[in-house]
Amino acid sequence: MGEKLLLMNSVTSAQKGRDILKENKIKAFIERTPKNKVNGSCGYSIYVPFNMELAKTILEGKGLKILGVVPRNSE
């Protein structure tokens, strides 16, 4: 299984998510989203090298909207 990105709806949302994950000691980085099947569009995602599922749970618990999980490299 290839690396995945958490697709966010704005750069601000991605930044907020990154900071929340860092507060929870989870490494997180913001990257541009490659063209994908979720929204077929550009934008920003959070790359979480480890603990992706935990990261997703934490962010959703904080009320952040995750548009989808997409491959880090283009589909």
């Binding site: 750069v11 949302s13 913001i30 541009r32 077929g40 569009s41």
Partner: protein, 381 residues
Amino acid sequence: MIYLDNGATTFPKPPSVYKAVNDAMRLYGANAGRSGHFLSMKASDKIYECRKNLSKLFNIEDVEKIIFTNNCTTSLNTVIKGLLKPNDHVVMTNMEHNSVLRPIAKLCDSGIEYSICEIVPFDFDKTIDNLRDVLRSDTKLVIINHGSNVFGFKQPIERMTALCHYYDIPVCVDCAQTAGILDIDLQECNIDYLCMPGHKGLYGPMGTGVLIINSEHIPDSLVEGGTGSNSLQTHQPSILPDKYESGTLNLPGIAGLNEGVKFVISKGVENIYKHEIELIKLLHNGLSNMKKTISYVDKIDEKYLVPVYSFNIKDENCEVFARKLSDNNRIAVRSGLHCAPLAHKFMKTDEIGTIRVCPSAFTTEKDIYGFLNAVRVNVTK
């Protein structure tokens, strides 16, 4: 030089503000929120840092609700024109600036109706009564000037907001003269829309403004365009802050504003207010001891005033007198009508204007004594 026109724009700024503007231009002057390269991300992170510091200053958890604009006028226009529809009723106070009066006047052409809440200086209870009297069942918005930009009259925004919310009416507060000077806690007072400039009490550069949307009622956008998000959609994204931040953001301005906000946080809003209002007391006492001065308040009561002070000199044109201060003494004050015609009419200064003095965190007692001396000398000339 003595600069006392801080109600228009604070000057000087903290040194960190100049450095931040310069660094943003020289070291990472890329486009924020568009690309993924390191410079763009650095620019985006600087803007995000400013959002976080603003959220700290105004005690609001969701950074997405902090919108960057060009100035307070743009923030106010966004709320007024984005919310009000034909035949809606809006209430505003008689202390409003033209940045409120003129958008409302324009909307009147399309059927908006308005009522004026007359504020009662030094009597919050009567001001609240007056507000209650003008609210209607079809009132869609109440706009409150937190601190008069002419006479410094402060409004009880917590009580006014509570009253409006009792009737489910959202409240927009123009804190042009109070952001960074009075404590505004959005968790406590629940103001729906907070509009402010970046270049006054927040010590940022000109061309920066902020709108904080703390409401479920989301105004329409005034400007649509590229946001760096959902680019396949031809409709404006509904997400905040993107909905209101089309086009390239003012990175150098926001980087400077970030340092200005950090300066305010580090000094403490209460300390800044205390410093400035003590200077206003000194000023008021000094002017009151001069025979020809006309003051518009009897005393400086901290409960009811922000550090904005107007006065006149008997038999002197305020514009001419301000020019004398500038030419003879290199003193900068604002004179004339201060873009608040209803406030001037209320205080019967619409024919003559006023000379306005506003200190900042950098103003000293020596500045005030120098100003008083210059007034004395120019009056007698």
